[in-house]
């Protein structure tokens, strides 16, 4: 079991629980979507998984070991985090940014060797963005920037990728292209856990869907089981028609 969450509870202030007893598992080779309305605690859940927030109850086990027992660099070797696409303060080149994934494999006072750059270039080639290697990140598109962040996570060589709404800021074409690329990576032996506001994507790409509402899991399972008209109404308060693999919101009823 790669990720095992047992009865996870979290609160910022005592008595006000944001996450109330979540339990789920996820394994290598699975694309897991976390769906839920704004403010339901998806980002908080990720911070708990990444060991950056102290749990108020329950436990998170990564590869069979309690996440709290890992040092930051041990955890980083198992699990990479891909934030929402934003612009960093400085205009690094794509290669400079991607090679930062090697941090966990280097001693604090070391700089990356030519071998580290070779690994980086290989990953860039694998994702089809090797031509962008020397371009500044301010000069590439949002979709390319997202691929670059994925490249950095792959350079890190951890098998679990945690992604916070990876395609939220991308155009329609890039959303599908990036998700399809991620699906391919999962099939090659990764576990991707992503939060999303797009149930349609989950229907197309997910192996497992976790639906969150009010800090609790309302449904977990295959996309066909979880993404039903009833659950969508429960999550988003929206009447949606499901025609095969297609979701059509009922605009009249809004």
């Amino acid at each position: 079991m790669s990720i095992e969450v047992k009865n996870l509870c979290f609160s910022y202030y005592p008595g006000q629980e944001v996450l109330k007893g979540l339990s789920f598992t996820a394994e290598i080779g699975e694309m897991v979507y976390i769906l839920g309305p704004n403010g339901v605690g998806k980002s908080t859940l990720f911070r708990c998984l990444l060991g950056q927030a102290a749990l108020s109850g329950g436990e998170v086990r990564i590869c069979g070991k309690n996440a709290a027992d890992y040092t930051p660099s041990q955890l980083a070797a198992k699990m990479a985090y891909i934030p929402q696409v934003g612009l960093p303060s400085f205009n690094y080149s794509v290669r400079e940014m991607a090679v930062m994934g090697r941090t966990v494999h280097l001693s604090p006072f070391a700089s990356p060797s030519s071998e580290d750059y070779r690994i980086t270039d290989e990953v860039l080639r694998r994702l089809g963005i090797e031509a962008l290697a020397d371009r500044g990140i301010e000069e590439i598109s949002g979709g390319e920037r997202q691929l670059m962040l994925i490249a950095r996570a792959l350079v890190q060589q951890s098998q679990i990728l945690i992604m916070d709404e990876p395609t939220a800021n991308l155009d329609y074409g890039n959303q599908i292209r990036v998700q399809a690329r991620m699906k391919k990576l999962v099939d090659e032996g990764l576990l991707i856990l992503q939060s999303s506001h797009n149930p349609q994507h989950a229907l197309l790409f997910a192996d497992k869907v976790i639906a969150l509402k009010n800090g609790q899991i309302v449904a977990v399972g295959s996309p066909l089981e979880v993404i039903t008209e009833e659950n969508l109404y429960l999550l988003y308060g929206l009447r949606v028609k499901k025609l095969g693999n297609l979701l059509v919101p009922d605009i009249e009823a809004v």
Binding site: Q52, A76, Y81, P83, F90, G101, F109, S111, I162
Partner: protein, 383 residues
Amino acid sequence: MNINSLLKDNFSLLRNSKGCLFCFKIYNLYMIKKACKPITKDAETHSPMSRNRQKLLFLGIIFVFVFFGSFSVGRYPVPPWDVLKIIINELIPLEQTWNDQMSLVVLNIRLPRVIAAALIGCALSTAGGIYQGMFKNPMVSPDILGSSAGAGFGAALGILCAFGYYGISISAFIFGLIAVIVAVAAASRFRSNVTLGLVLAGIMIGSLFQACTSFIKLVADPTDELPAITYWLMGSLASIRIYDLQMLLPVMLVGLIPLFFLRWRLNVITLSEEEARSLGVNTKRIRILVILCATLVTAASVAVSGMIGWVGLVIPHFARKLVGCDYKILLPAIMLIGGSFLMVVDNVARTLTTSEVPIGILTAFIGAPFFLYLILQGGKKRL
């Protein structure tokens, strides 16, 4: 372009006082030429990494030329050839072709001054460049945490209490450290955003110490103490002697060496907190180390030279335009440019008029318009 031959041709020009400025001009020309050159596809021979290494080498050559050139510049010009011989003579005795006055000027007056200018320029630029990364804000300068304001107060207090020359430096150094310690302690009480907490606490401590300095100026004797304080606050390298270096050099090395070796990892802390931690970096530990080292070198610089503004803000920007943002190359570039820059400005400070011009005034005169120029150029692509 053959850099060496170009520099050799122009070496004769180094003999006059404008030599160093000329040197600066050459490398500006060189960089403009680089920037105009179309990006070629033969990536094997011109990969950005090897190109950046060439740039570093070039900056190193500039640094060495400015360093030796600075000895011959001043009210009492000494030919560069004699400068070289006077310095070598200290190690291996040579036949004397210079007079004793030249040797006195070069060894006792200019040597400490030039080394101090190189060290302080290097230190202030490094501290600025690193703080800009750590605070994820390119507008940050090395006194962000109040170290300069603290040191200024310490020096003013030292002058008021007639502590003597050493007492003033030590008092400045100690108060520089105290200011940062108070700012960091206040920021650690900040609940959520550590970076924002540091900035706010730094501003608070800085203005508090500035108010204290103003108060000391108010009570100081207007005939001798007040001018001394005012002159000190303007910054000058005129009074530096060889024994100042004995204090300055170890502190600088203790501060700069860890930063130099940590430099690649500094890239990671320019990212968001979550990103940096998920990449496996202990952000808290690295932040403490960076603040410690940067404060050490800033406080030491201010203690010896007074307030020298703008260097720590402008030089990192300039270096970033030149070699990009990767600290692996950027930090050595900042160190070399910062050192060269302050040596050149100090040369101007001691030759411009018959009396010394405080170097802090000159760095502001040069730094502020130059910074504006860099910002207006902002839209330009990476070199």
